[in-house]
């Protein structure tokens, strides 16, 4: 079954978040490793882009991503236990 755009973005977020978590563990013991730092910054940037893209199209993933003063949009999207993604 083809992934929806939303599922696709969420999967990319998971992939990029995992890469960041793992390189952080490496950096904890190799804080001056230049290649590892480049890897970290690359994925941090990618994740930021994916996150902005997702939030703009499909709403906040965490409550602190609710923008503006019009409406508390946090309640507009399904709850995690509703199993939409």
């Amino acid at each position: 079954m083809a992934m929806t755009e939303q599922q696709n973005l969420m999967r990319r977020l998971q992939v990029q978040s995992f890469a960041i978590d793992d390189i952080k563990l490496f950096l904890d013991t190799h804080p001056n490793d230049r290649l590892a730092m480049e890897y970290y910054q690359k994925y941090r940037h990618l994740r930021e882009q994916t996150m902005n893209n997702y939030v703009k199209q499909f709403g906040p993933i965490t409550p602190d991503q609710v923008e503006g003063t019009d409406r508390w949009t946090w309640i507009d999207t399904p709850w995690p236990w509703e199993g939409v993604l």
Partner: protein, 77 residues
């Protein structure tokens, strides 16, 4: 030589002569384990090397092929 690293009453364990074992011998399972001192673990420092692409890393549980070492409960040839 001062053998006490700030632990009052406890001298450091004297260094034990570790038998010289080649990497090749270790790979063949010829490590003389009974000649090594008890309770000493050895963890080589990882070097930043090859990385998996993102999706594969998520599937394998690590971004490093070097650390992708599934335990199969038996020797792997």
């Amino acid at each position: 030589m001062e053998m006490n690293n700030g632990m009052p009453g406890y001298a450091c364990v004297p260094a034990v002569e570790v038998p010289d074992v080649s990497a090749a011998a270790m790979t063949r399972g010829e490590t003389p384990l009974d000649q090594l001192p008890l309770a000493m673990a050895y963890v080589p420092m990882q070097k930043f090397g090859e990385t998996y692409d993102g999706l594969r890393a998520l599937e394998r549980g690590t971004i490093f092929p070097d650390l992708d070492l599934p335990f199969c409960g038996r020797g792997v040839k």
